[in-house]
Amino acid sequence: MFDLKKYRKKSPWILHYNAGSCNGCDIEILACLSPKYDLERFGVINTGNPKQSDIFLVTGPVTFRTRERLVELYTQMPEPKVVIAVGSCACTGCVFRDMYNVEVGIDRYIPVDVYVPGCASSPELIIDGVVKGLEILEQKTKEMEKPFKLFKEATTDDGIVNRRHSALKVGEDDAKD
């Protein structure tokens, strides 16, 4: 009756972080939540709390001082989660590619799922990106629920049972040979 899998894709909550951008893409994200292009029809609320959100929207090329905060926010979000890089600066670094205080794009630090181009990207492309992110979130939820074993079969060495290497890493296949 209370099925969390079905309700998770009906109301994803958003966390937004500006990792050194020029504010153009942030104004367009704020305009997405305004009455003309309404993101709140999909059930989206802009919270400021990483423990309560599913989707991470990042803008801007990563500067050296913001990269620690970016990684900390990413690790504090619970699974399953989706990372969306908004704007050309977040995908590849745009005009800031050779400057001395800038890393080249976000995916040097955290794994990114959806790339949205444009300078500054328009609200229609951001809505396309969020819809695609919701499909990936549904796929990740299904994969998380698959059962997996925790222990291998115990091996025998001259009749003595050896249980030392019986723990499997998570996701590793059990090699039966």
Binding site: Y37, C91, V104, G105, D107, Y115, P117, I127
Partner: protein
């Protein structure tokens, strides 16, 4: 309190301000600055667009089996990255044949996923481009 009641009743019959985007598509203006498109037969390989682009989104890189255009003396091929482009139109203004070889349409770029290798694939091309200089 009475005026707010009348206003609420009038709002019930007005058209909503929202455009429900993925269901009804939005028509773009003819002069909107969108993707850059390339016509290979009319290009004369002068490389002016590569020098004029501020972030360096157009690169000409040598390949093994180039096209059969007679102006292509060094065996180069055209590469364009829509995730680095800033859509300013400087390359179209610098091209000597702006309608046949390089022009700016009003289409929107696509959204990419992780397996498209948008950032790491471009580092290889930059290394090849630097070696041939």
């Amino acid at each position: 309190m009475f005026t707010s009641f009348i206003k609420a009743l009038a709002n019930l019959f007005k058209k909503p301000q929202t455009i429900d985007y993925p269901v009804t598509p939005i028509a773009k203006d003819k002069e909107y600055r969108g993707l850059i498109e390339y016509g290979e037969e009319s290009c004369i390989y002068c490389l002016k667009c590569e020098h004029a682009c501020p972030p360096g989104a157009i690169l000409f890189v040598p390949v093994e089996n180039p096209s059969t255009n007679e102006k292509n003396k060094k065996g180069l091929a055209y590469n364009y990255n829509p995730y680095l482009c800033i859509y300013c139109g400087e390359c179209v203004r610098a091209c000597p044949k702006p309608e046949e070889a390089l022009w700016q349409s009003n289409k929107k770029p696509d959204v990419a996923v992780k397996s498209d290798n948008v950032n790491s694939g471009w580092f290889e091309l930059e290394k090849q481009h630097k070696e041939q200089l």
